[in-house]
């Protein structure tokens, strides 16, 4: 059964799109990531123009993250104060990133620089999470669980505007989530993704938030980021295909609920190691895409 997408200008298999949405929603519920880094390339492989794939994916993430947020809100596993600070930073970083990408593109080597940084960063984050969780699963105390180095503690301790975040049970300067949010927002804008899979490790390792609060808070931040992106894309690029988003979100809202329920049954270390495998898998896929000769030496513009 096929359905024509008015904005993408192509038809898609209804069940395949619902299934794709379900898979990404499941990951979203399990790890608190938006899933744009996975969904957009999959849609592009299916023949959806890159701009429409990215914009419509943002629209469906709104549904999945709203569904996840509701469940986490009821379970009191969203640190709203932390989420708002990161969101403010994320929006500022996104604006900064868009300007930065313009300058990089003018210099000519932006695509090369971005792709290499992307692969290195995914590889670094994924490997660190994987080995740290593996050590933890084997019952040895991990480096991340141990107190941070005195230098790190001194630096963080010296920063002003300390705030207690009761939901996360941490006292840190309000500048930390704000600055880290800005950093992730900048990276996300440069790479054209939501940034959930960068934000989650940062919340775990740098902000020292408990894993169950990390997932809910990440979804909270993603919800508002994606609303912003969807409206902006619809206004400036007219690239939101609601029929596509609807098919994806039917799958993703159900997938997100299943992901949340399975996530509750897993230990934090198990969740982290699964997240690490996902990040490394995306890195390997990107790396193969860079190393293997493409089938055709020309491509439509707008793709990554």
């Amino acid at each position: 059964m096929h359905l024509y997408l008015p904005i993408a200008g192509n038809s898609v298999n209804v069940f395949l799109m619902i299934g794709l949405g379900g898979l990404v929603g499941f990951l979203s519920g399990l790890f608190g990531v938006g899933g744009g880094f996975l969904m957009t390339p999959l849609l592009m492989m299916y023949g959806i123009p890159a701009t429409v794939a990215a914009a419509s994916d943002s629209n469906q993430i709104v549904a999945a993250s709203a569904s996840g947020c509701y469940t986490h809100f009821r379970a009191k596993t969203i640190d709203v104060r932390m989420g708002v600070l990161m969101l403010v930073g994320g929006i500022a970083g996104g604006t900064l990133g868009v300007q930065l990408i313009k300058i990089l593109r003018r210099l000519g080597e932006a695509d090369f620089a971005i792709t290499v940084v992307y692969v290195l960063m995914l590889g670094g984050i994924g490997s660190y999470m994987f080995f740290e969780s593996l050590i933890s699963l084997r019952g040895r105390p991990s480096k991340a669980a141990a107190p941070r180095s005195p230098m790190y503690r001194r630096m963080v301790g010296a920063l002003p505007f300390k705030v207690y975040f009761p939901r996360s049970k941490v006292t840190i300067t309000a500048l930390m989530p704000l600055l880290l949010g800005t950093l992730v927002g900048t990276l996300a804008a440069i790479m054209g993704v939501g940034g959930g899979f960068i934000m989650v490790p940062i919340m775990i390792y740098l902000l020292r938030m408990p894993m169950h609060v990390v997932v809910g808070t990440s979804l909270f931040q993603i919800l508002f980021t994606c609303i912003n992106v969807t409206v902006l894309q619809a206004h400036y690029n007219h690239s939101v295909d609601f029929v596509l988003a609807l098919l994806l979100l039917i799958g993703s809202v159900v997938g997100a609920q299943i992901g949340i329920r399975i996530g509750r049954r897993l230990r934090a270390d198990q969740l982290k190691i699964l997240m690490a495998v996902l990040v490394l898998a995306v890195m390997v896929k990107m790396l193969l895409g860079l190393l293997l000769r493409p089938e055709f030496l020309v491509a439509y513009k707008g793709g990554h």
């Binding site: 200008g9 023949g47 629209n59 709104v62 709203a66 996840g68 902006l232 939101v240 609807l246 609920q257």
Partner: protein, 263 residues
């Protein structure tokens, strides 16, 4: 003075119109029918089969060419960076390339006539992107990309003889030959007018025998949604978010009540 100007314009228009090659036999005509002539893109649209029926004079081989309006096409060129990584390495521009280009013929194109003759009627990829054209070195990659999406197709031998004439009238006899074939348009073929041309070949000469137009247009919900998205983008985006939030929250409530029932 005004009449002189009009005559000059008429002559100029006539000069750019496709017309029979030098030496075309007088009175040689054919017939071309396209079914359907109008295709509506609605939500259930998944591409279309366009049937063509043609009549050509006895002894002629033929080709039917379907294409959209030629335009400039700019693509990303892929190359190796740092001697290792494949990625975007500039752009390449092709001139006068239709989004959709398909040809059906009664015989392999090479057998219909020399390249120069086929080139006059834009038959074959070498005619579409000649060797001296910009980007000609990437012709194979462009064609591969387009064929992969179903937008380009050369189906040599897919224009077949039909009816009684197929069995009773041998090529060379006086009765005209009736031909038929099918174009497969993918769902990604854009709305617009497509030209369909029937070209006959005999004795190393080509004759334009007939032409038709295929109209593809948006209809129903597709047209309404395109209107909303293109002309009222902000409201459309806001509504899309609102519906997504409602669906998300309803699912959350539904799953919560199910989970409560289970306890």
């Amino acid at each position: 003075m005004r009449h002189v100007k009009l005559a000059a314009v008429a002559l100029a228009v006539f000069a750019i119109l496709p017309r029979p090659a030098a030496g075309q036999p007088a009175g040689v005509t054919g017939d071309l029918m396209v079914v359907p002539e109008r295709v509506e893109i609605d939500l259930a649209y998944n591409g279309a089969n366009i049937e063509v029926g043609a009549e050509v004079p006895a002894g002629y081989e033929a080709a039917v060419r379907l294409m959209s309006r030629p335009e400039r096409l700019e693509l990303k060129k892929l190359g190796k960076k740092a001697g290792l990584l494949w990625m975007g390495a500039g752009t390449v521009t092709f001139e006068n390339i239709p989004v959709v280009y398909q040809v059906l013929s009664t015989a392999p194109l090479a057998d219909l006539g020399p390249q120069a003759l086929r080139g006059q009627w834009m038959l074959g990829y070498e005619s579409l992107i000649p060797d001296q054209a910009p980007g000609a070195d990437l012709r194979g990659d462009l064609v591969g990309l387009k064929e992969h999406g179903g937008l380009f197709a050369l189906r040599e031998g897919a224009l077949v003889r039909r009816g009684k004439s197929a069995s009773l009238v041998a090529p060379g006899a006086d009765a005209p030959q009736r031909l038929r074939g099918t174009f497969r348009l993918p769902a990604s073929a854009p709305a617009g007018d497509y030209s369909v041309d029937l070209i006959g070949f005999k004795d190393q000469r080509a004759v334009h025998l007939a032409s038709a137009t295929l109209h593809i247009e948006h209809a129903g919900a597709v047209r309404i949604m395109r209107h909303l998205a293109l002309d009222h983008g902000t409201a459309y985006g806001g509504a899309a978010c609102l519906i997504a939030i409602i669906v998300g929250l309803l699912t959350g409530v539904l799953f919560r009540s199910r989970s409560n029932e289970g306890h």
